[in-house]
Protein backbone atom coordinates (compact mmCIF):
# COMPACT_ATOMS: atom_id res chain seq x y z
CA UNK A 1 0.00 0.00 0.00
CA UNK A 2 2.84 2.37 0.78
CA UNK A 3 6.60 2.40 0.50
CA UNK A 4 8.11 -0.39 2.49
CA UNK A 5 10.19 1.32 5.13
CA UNK A 6 11.15 0.13 8.53
CA UNK A 7 9.29 2.92 10.29
CA UNK A 8 7.78 2.12 13.66
CA UNK A 9 4.82 4.00 15.07
CA UNK A 10 4.37 4.35 18.82
CA UNK A 11 1.25 2.45 19.91
CA UNK A 12 0.35 5.50 22.01
CA UNK A 13 0.34 7.66 18.85
CA UNK A 14 -1.73 5.16 16.87
CA UNK A 15 -4.18 4.95 19.77
CA UNK A 16 -4.42 8.73 19.88
CA UNK A 17 -5.40 8.76 16.21
CA UNK A 18 -8.10 6.16 16.84
CA UNK A 19 -9.34 8.27 19.74
CA UNK A 20 -9.39 11.49 17.67
CA UNK A 21 -11.22 9.82 14.80
CA UNK A 22 -13.76 8.43 17.22
CA UNK A 23 -14.10 11.75 19.03
CA UNK A 24 -14.67 13.56 15.74
CA UNK A 25 -17.22 11.01 14.54
CA UNK A 26 -19.11 11.10 17.85
CA UNK A 27 -19.18 14.91 17.84
CA UNK A 28 -20.41 15.05 14.25
CA UNK A 29 -23.12 12.46 14.80
CA UNK A 30 -24.37 14.04 18.03
CA UNK A 31 -24.21 17.57 16.59
CA UNK A 32 -26.07 16.51 13.45
CA UNK A 33 -28.85 14.97 15.54
CA UNK A 34 -29.12 18.25 17.50
CA UNK A 35 -29.29 20.25 14.26
CA UNK A 36 -31.91 17.92 12.83
CA UNK A 37 -33.96 18.27 16.01
CA UNK A 38 -34.24 22.00 15.27
CA UNK A 39 -35.30 21.41 11.65
CA UNK A 40 -38.70 20.72 10.10
CA UNK A 41 -38.00 17.03 10.00
CA UNK A 42 -36.27 16.11 13.26
CA UNK A 43 -36.31 12.40 12.48
CA UNK A 44 -34.20 12.81 9.36
CA UNK A 45 -30.52 13.63 9.76
CA UNK A 46 -29.11 14.76 6.43
CA UNK A 47 -25.71 15.32 4.85
CA UNK A 48 -26.25 19.04 5.34
CA UNK A 49 -26.61 18.50 9.10
CA UNK A 50 -23.47 16.37 9.06
CA UNK A 51 -21.54 19.10 7.15
CA UNK A 52 -22.54 21.78 9.62
CA UNK A 53 -21.82 19.53 12.59
CA UNK A 54 -18.46 18.53 11.10
CA UNK A 55 -17.39 22.17 10.82
CA UNK A 56 -18.10 22.65 14.52
CA UNK A 57 -16.53 19.31 15.43
CA UNK A 58 -13.29 20.24 13.65
CA UNK A 59 -12.87 23.13 16.04
CA UNK A 60 -13.43 21.02 19.15
CA UNK A 61 -11.19 18.33 17.69
CA UNK A 62 -8.39 20.86 17.36
CA UNK A 63 -8.85 21.76 20.99
CA UNK A 64 -8.76 18.10 21.98
CA UNK A 65 -5.61 17.45 19.93
CA UNK A 66 -3.84 20.49 21.32
CA UNK A 67 -5.12 19.91 24.83
CA UNK A 68 -2.73 18.92 27.56
CA UNK A 69 -4.79 15.94 28.61
CA UNK A 70 -2.76 12.82 27.99
CA UNK A 71 -4.53 10.44 25.63
CA UNK A 72 -4.39 7.43 27.94
CA UNK A 73 -6.34 9.31 30.60
CA UNK A 74 -9.02 10.34 28.07
CA UNK A 75 -9.25 6.73 26.93
CA UNK A 76 -9.59 5.40 30.46
CA UNK A 77 -12.26 7.97 31.26
CA UNK A 78 -14.28 6.96 28.17
Amino acid sequence: MSETMDVRIDVKAAKALIHWKSLFADEVAAGAVRLAAQSRNPANVTLSHYRQAAEMAVRSLSAAILGDEPFDECEEAA
Partner: protein
Protein backbone atom coordinates in the same frame (compact mmCIF):
# COMPACT_ATOMS: atom_id res chain seq x y z
CA UNK B 1 -51.53 33.60 -13.43
CA UNK B 2 -53.13 30.72 -11.64
CA UNK B 3 -51.44 30.21 -8.35
CA UNK B 4 -51.69 26.59 -7.48
CA UNK B 5 -51.96 25.83 -3.82
CA UNK B 6 -48.79 24.21 -2.63
CA UNK B 7 -49.29 20.87 -0.93
CA UNK B 8 -48.86 20.76 2.81
CA UNK B 9 -45.31 19.97 3.82
CA UNK B 10 -44.95 16.28 4.36
CA UNK B 11 -41.62 14.99 5.48
CA UNK B 12 -40.39 12.56 2.90
CA UNK B 13 -39.53 9.11 4.13
CA UNK B 14 -35.77 8.76 3.86
CA UNK B 15 -35.12 6.40 0.97
CA UNK B 16 -31.64 5.36 1.93
CA UNK B 17 -31.06 5.77 5.63
CA UNK B 18 -29.75 3.88 8.62
CA UNK B 19 -30.99 3.94 12.19
CA UNK B 20 -29.10 6.35 14.45
CA UNK B 21 -28.63 3.85 17.32
CA UNK B 22 -27.32 1.24 14.87
CA UNK B 23 -24.88 3.75 13.39
CA UNK B 24 -23.71 4.70 16.88
CA UNK B 25 -23.24 1.02 17.79
CA UNK B 26 -21.21 0.44 14.63
CA UNK B 27 -19.02 3.46 15.38
CA UNK B 28 -18.22 2.11 18.83
CA UNK B 29 -17.62 -1.37 17.39
CA UNK B 30 -15.20 0.04 14.81
CA UNK B 31 -13.33 1.99 17.46
CA UNK B 32 -12.88 -1.21 19.47
CA UNK B 33 -11.94 -3.06 16.30
CA UNK B 34 -9.23 -0.51 15.55
CA UNK B 35 -7.85 -0.74 19.09
CA UNK B 36 -7.90 -4.55 18.97
CA UNK B 37 -6.30 -4.48 15.52
CA UNK B 38 -3.52 -2.35 16.92
CA UNK B 39 -2.93 -4.91 19.65
CA UNK B 40 -3.03 -7.70 17.08
CA UNK B 41 -0.33 -6.16 14.87
CA UNK B 42 1.98 -5.05 17.67
CA UNK B 43 4.45 -7.85 17.18
CA UNK B 44 4.36 -7.95 13.39
CA UNK B 45 7.48 -6.91 11.53
CA UNK B 46 7.48 -4.34 8.74
CA UNK B 47 7.66 -7.15 6.17
CA UNK B 48 4.59 -8.95 7.50
CA UNK B 49 2.72 -10.73 4.75
CA UNK B 50 -0.90 -10.13 3.81
CA UNK B 51 -1.65 -13.55 5.28
CA UNK B 52 -0.21 -12.51 8.66
CA UNK B 53 -2.07 -9.20 8.56
CA UNK B 54 -5.35 -10.93 7.71
CA UNK B 55 -4.80 -13.44 10.52
CA UNK B 56 -4.17 -10.55 12.91
CA UNK B 57 -7.37 -8.88 11.75
CA UNK B 58 -9.29 -12.11 12.31
CA UNK B 59 -8.04 -12.10 15.92
CA UNK B 60 -9.02 -8.45 16.25
CA UNK B 61 -12.50 -9.05 14.84
CA UNK B 62 -13.07 -11.97 17.20
CA UNK B 63 -11.79 -9.93 20.16
CA UNK B 64 -14.15 -7.11 19.20
CA UNK B 65 -17.11 -9.47 19.08
CA UNK B 66 -16.16 -10.66 22.56
CA UNK B 67 -15.80 -7.02 23.73
CA UNK B 68 -19.32 -6.40 22.45
CA UNK B 69 -20.66 -9.09 24.75
CA UNK B 70 -20.76 -12.01 22.35
CA UNK B 71 -19.22 -15.37 23.21
CA UNK B 72 -16.82 -16.99 20.75
CA UNK B 73 -19.30 -19.66 19.74
CA UNK B 74 -21.98 -17.11 18.90
CA UNK B 75 -19.41 -15.10 16.95
CA UNK B 76 -18.54 -18.17 14.90
CA UNK B 77 -22.24 -18.77 14.38
CA UNK B 78 -22.57 -15.22 13.07
CA UNK B 79 -19.77 -15.96 10.58
CA UNK B 80 -21.55 -19.17 9.56
CA UNK B 81 -24.79 -17.23 9.04
CA UNK B 82 -22.96 -14.59 7.01
CA UNK B 83 -21.47 -17.34 4.87
CA UNK B 84 -24.93 -18.67 4.11
CA UNK B 85 -26.16 -15.18 3.22
CA UNK B 86 -23.35 -14.86 0.66
CA UNK B 87 -24.33 -18.10 -1.04
CA UNK B 88 -26.68 -17.52 -3.96
CA UNK B 89 -28.75 -19.46 -4.48
CA UNK B 90 -28.95 -20.85 -0.96
CA UNK B 91 -27.97 -24.51 -1.10
CA UNK B 92 -30.85 -26.93 -0.64
CA UNK B 93 -30.91 -28.84 2.65
CA UNK B 94 -30.09 -32.45 1.90
CA UNK B 95 -29.72 -35.68 3.82
CA UNK B 96 -25.95 -35.49 3.23
CA UNK B 97 -25.77 -32.05 4.85
CA UNK B 98 -27.91 -33.29 7.72
CA UNK B 99 -25.57 -36.25 8.18
CA UNK B 100 -22.52 -33.99 8.12
CA UNK B 101 -24.14 -31.77 10.74
CA UNK B 102 -24.65 -34.74 13.03
CA UNK B 103 -20.98 -35.74 12.53
CA UNK B 104 -19.87 -32.25 13.52
CA UNK B 105 -22.19 -32.20 16.55
CA UNK B 106 -20.64 -35.52 17.66
CA UNK B 107 -17.17 -34.01 17.32
CA UNK B 108 -18.30 -30.98 19.27
CA UNK B 109 -19.60 -33.18 22.11
CA UNK B 110 -16.25 -34.96 22.14
CA UNK B 111 -14.47 -31.58 22.17
CA UNK B 112 -12.71 -32.43 18.89
CA UNK B 113 -14.21 -29.69 16.76
CA UNK B 114 -11.70 -27.42 15.01
CA UNK B 115 -12.42 -23.72 14.53
CA UNK B 116 -13.00 -24.27 10.79
CA UNK B 117 -15.46 -27.04 11.65
CA UNK B 118 -17.19 -24.75 14.15
CA UNK B 119 -17.84 -22.30 11.34
CA UNK B 120 -18.96 -25.15 9.09
CA UNK B 121 -21.34 -26.37 11.81
CA UNK B 122 -22.72 -22.85 12.25
CA UNK B 123 -23.23 -22.62 8.49
CA UNK B 124 -25.03 -25.95 8.39
CA UNK B 125 -27.18 -25.01 11.40
CA UNK B 126 -28.09 -21.79 9.66
CA UNK B 127 -28.97 -23.64 6.45
CA UNK B 128 -31.08 -26.09 8.45
CA UNK B 129 -32.93 -23.27 10.22
CA UNK B 130 -33.62 -21.56 6.88
CA UNK B 131 -34.94 -24.87 5.60
CA UNK B 132 -37.19 -25.38 8.62
CA UNK B 133 -38.48 -21.81 8.42
CA UNK B 134 -39.08 -21.97 4.68
CA UNK B 135 -42.63 -21.83 3.31
CA UNK B 136 -42.53 -25.44 2.19
CA UNK B 137 -42.09 -26.53 5.78
CA UNK B 138 -44.79 -24.37 7.27
CA UNK B 139 -47.93 -26.33 8.14
CA UNK B 140 -49.75 -24.62 5.27
CA UNK B 141 -52.21 -27.45 4.60
CA UNK B 142 -53.64 -27.20 8.11
CA UNK B 143 -53.69 -23.41 7.96
CA UNK B 144 -55.44 -23.46 4.58
CA UNK B 145 -58.04 -25.95 5.82
CA UNK B 146 -58.69 -23.73 8.86
CA UNK B 147 -58.95 -20.69 6.59
CA UNK B 148 -61.50 -22.48 4.42
CA UNK B 149 -63.49 -23.54 7.47
CA UNK B 150 -63.54 -20.00 8.82
CA UNK B 151 -64.62 -18.58 5.47
CA UNK B 152 -67.34 -21.19 5.24
CA UNK B 153 -68.64 -20.54 8.77
CA UNK B 154 -68.57 -16.80 8.06
CA UNK B 155 -70.64 -17.17 4.89
CA UNK B 156 -73.13 -19.57 6.55
CA UNK B 157 -73.61 -17.23 9.53
CA UNK B 158 -74.28 -14.32 7.13
CA UNK B 159 -76.88 -16.34 5.26
CA UNK B 160 -78.34 -18.01 8.33
Amino acid sequence: MNAKKQPEFEPAEPQDAVSAPAEEWVRLFIKHLELNALDAIRDLSSDATDFELRAAMARAILATYVDSGMDVESALEAFGQATVERETPTPAWTEALNQRRFELIDKKIQAELTVAESIELARLTSLMRNHIDSDENLPMKGAQALHRRLLHSDSTSEHG
